[in-house]
């Protein structure tokens, strides 16, 4: 049961690679596989939320020899979000007409990699699945096949490879210090290790995930890639792949290395704040939609870092909630930038309201959770920063909306009515989650409660 959501995309992707994804039948086959995967994930998630974490060991080996797979609330939230965004992007591209042979296969492969990563309970398998997802992303970023996409893909692959190697160095350090790779063992092992070595490992892990997320000082690759890639690919990168970074910071920061997180919480808050301000200011100065959204992404991940830095039950729940809402927002916005028509304008406006944090869009919940976390630690500066970030994002989102939709200057893009279905469905989802917030709030509380860092 636990392996089903992992095996479905894995087994489906292998034959799909051999088929021509431009044919409608093949693309819908991939959509079917991804939908089955999402359904299996949903069944597993219901079980996890009702009965607590589920654990299994591959090949019925004793734990410690076999690979341990464990589904807890945090992993499930991110797995559902990522697979949902992947499915949305794949359906969007299928309806509009896929232009690359391997596009559907790599989307399905990425679902396998991401799900494995969210379920992995040891550090090295986390790395392996992380690479499966990243390699699919490198291949996906060449989608379109023009010089522009290839150039973006090259930058993307080189920078993120360096991030991966930093993580590999951290894995080596963890094994050297603790003699184990199981996440539970690492926490206890590092408690007795030399504090400097443990801190060095934590810094390596933090930098590796910051590179993936495109946090402020590690961001220069991100705008080039998001502008160069096709909108569907940008939606996948911002809505699904970036979850590796948010999940990684939460899992490694608050669960595996909680003592080191406490020591470095100020650094996280400072980096996150810098990212919020930098991303917003840069976004205001841009005109092209993809460029504005790319810098907005840099700003939005800053909130996740600030929330993780604040820590505790409230802060971590805010981080989960913000990451989920941000993933949905970015998927919606990127999928709607290559469409036109007034309905798309409405969907885009919902996404824009959600980024700004205006009710009833789901982004409001994220902002409220951040305010709560700021008030919890009694920091006026943080509350002011969150307010400033919101105001700046209002400026750049509506500047973009005005120049792109109101002025009627948008001539590029697909105009067939059926291509709008996915963007509209995502807009309804964002509104729905905002109008009926209880499930999302409960889920993010559960997810945060699964972390070591919320225990005193």
């Amino acid at each position: 049961m636990l392996f089903l959501p992992l095996l479905i995309p894995w087994l489906a992707a292998i034959p799909l690679v051999l088929l021509d994804g431009r044919r409608k039948g093949v693309a819908w086959l991939a959509v079917g596989a991804l939908a089955a995967h999402l359904a299996a994930l949903a069944v597993l998630a219901v079980r996890v939320f009702a009965a607590g974490p589920q654990e299994a060991v591959t090949g019925e080996w004793p734990p410690g020899v076999g690979i341990v797979v464990r589904a807890d609330a945090l992993g499930m939230v991110f797995a559902l979000l990522s697979s949902g965004v992947l499915l949305a992007a794949l359906v969007h591209e299928t309806v509009a007409g896929i232009e690359g042979r391997r596009f559907p296969a790599f989307v399905v492969f990425m679902a396998a990699g991401l799900t494995g990563l969210f379920l992995a309970r040891d550090v090295f398998n986390f790395y392996v699945f992380f690479e499966v997802a990243m390699i699919s992303a490198y291949a996906l970023s060449t989608y379109g096949g023009q010089a522009r996409e290839a150039g973006a893909a090259f930058v993307f692959a080189v920078v993120n490879l360096l991030g991966s190697f930093l993580f590999l160095l951290a894995v080596a350090g963890i094994y050297h210090q603790t003699g184990t790779l199981a996440m539970d063992g690492v926490t206890t092992g590092l408690a007795t290790a030399a504090p400097n070595a443990a801190l060095l490992i934590a810094v390596l892990v933090l930098v590796a995930f910051s590179v993936k997320l495109g946090l402020f000082p590690f961001h220069p690759w991100l705008p080039a890639v998001y502008i160069g890639a096709r909108p569907a690919v940008a939606a996948i990168l911002a809505g699904a792949l970036a979850n590796i970074g948010s999940y990684g910071v939460l899992r490694f920061g608050a669960d595996v290395l909680p003592a080191q997180l406490r020591a470095g919480s100020v650094a996280l808050v400072v980096l996150g704040s810098a990212s919020i301000v930098y991303g917003a200011v840069q976004a205001i100065g841009r005109r092209e939609a993809a460029e504005v959204l790319a810098y907005s992404t840099i700003g939005q991940v800053g909130y996740v870092f600030v929330a993780v830095g604040i820590g505790g039950a409230v802060g971590l729940a805010a981080a989960v909630l913000y990451a989920v809402v941000n993933g949905l927002n970015k998927a919606l916005l990127f999928l709607s930038i290559d469409l036109r028509g007034w309905l798309v304008g409405a969907a885009f406006a919902v996404g824009a309201f959600s980024v700004v944090g205006v009710p009833p869009a789901a982004g409001f919940l994220g902002k409220v959770a951040m305010f709560q976390a700021g008030v919890e630690i009694g920091s006026v500066a943080l509350v002011a920063l969150i307010f400033l970030g919101g105001a700046l994002s209002f400026l750049y989102m509506f500047q973009l909306y005005q120049s792109d939709f109101w002025a009627g200057t948008r001539e590029v893009g697909r105009s067939a009515p059926r291509t709008r279905v996915v963007a509209l469905a995502l807009a309804v989802l964002v509104l729905g989650l905002g109008a009926w917030p209880e499930p999302l709030l409960a889920v993010s509380r559960d997810a945060a409660a699964a972390l070591e860092g919320t225990r005193p």
Binding site: V128, Y138, T142, A150, V158, L161, F165, A172, Y175
Partner: protein
């Protein structure tokens, strides 16, 4: 031994960084290959134990070397190999569509393409 390996890793990592900073697509790929191998060597060095090869039946009384890091290094090598192949393909595709491997020239071409786009918009 640890010092020697550290020096080797440092040299390889440094050479990799040097190549990364060169303005040439294929030198950048070579740089990432070197850095990936530096990471794999670190992984092997993380579990340094002297001893016989860890193959059953184990030799009586003597220590065996740690097999886990070998398995990890092997996996990491394979991943690195696959990614390198992918990177070379992408680099070749950039070369095939723009006929240059010089990064400065590529960014100039990108800039001029953007200018053309803006002119056609106006």
């Amino acid at each position: 031994m640890t010092l020697l390996v550290s020096l080797v890793v440092a040299t390889i990592f440094g050479s990799g960084c040097y190549l990364l900073l060169k303005g040439d697509l294929f030198r950048v790929v070579a740089g990432t290959v070197l850095i990936s191998n530096a990471a794999v060597l670190t992984l092997i060095a993380a579990g340094f134990t002297r001893g016989a090869a860890p193959i059953r039946p184990f030799p009586q009384g003597s220590q065996v070397s740690d097999p886990l890091v070998q398995a990890l290094a092997l996996t990491a090598l394979i991943i690195g190999f696959g990614v390198t192949a992918l990177l070379l393909t992408v680099a070749f595709r950039v070369y095939a569509s723009s006929r240059t491997v010089d990064l400065d020239q590529l960014s100039r071409m990108e800039a001029s393409r953007e200018d053309e786009l803006e002119e056609t918009e106006d």
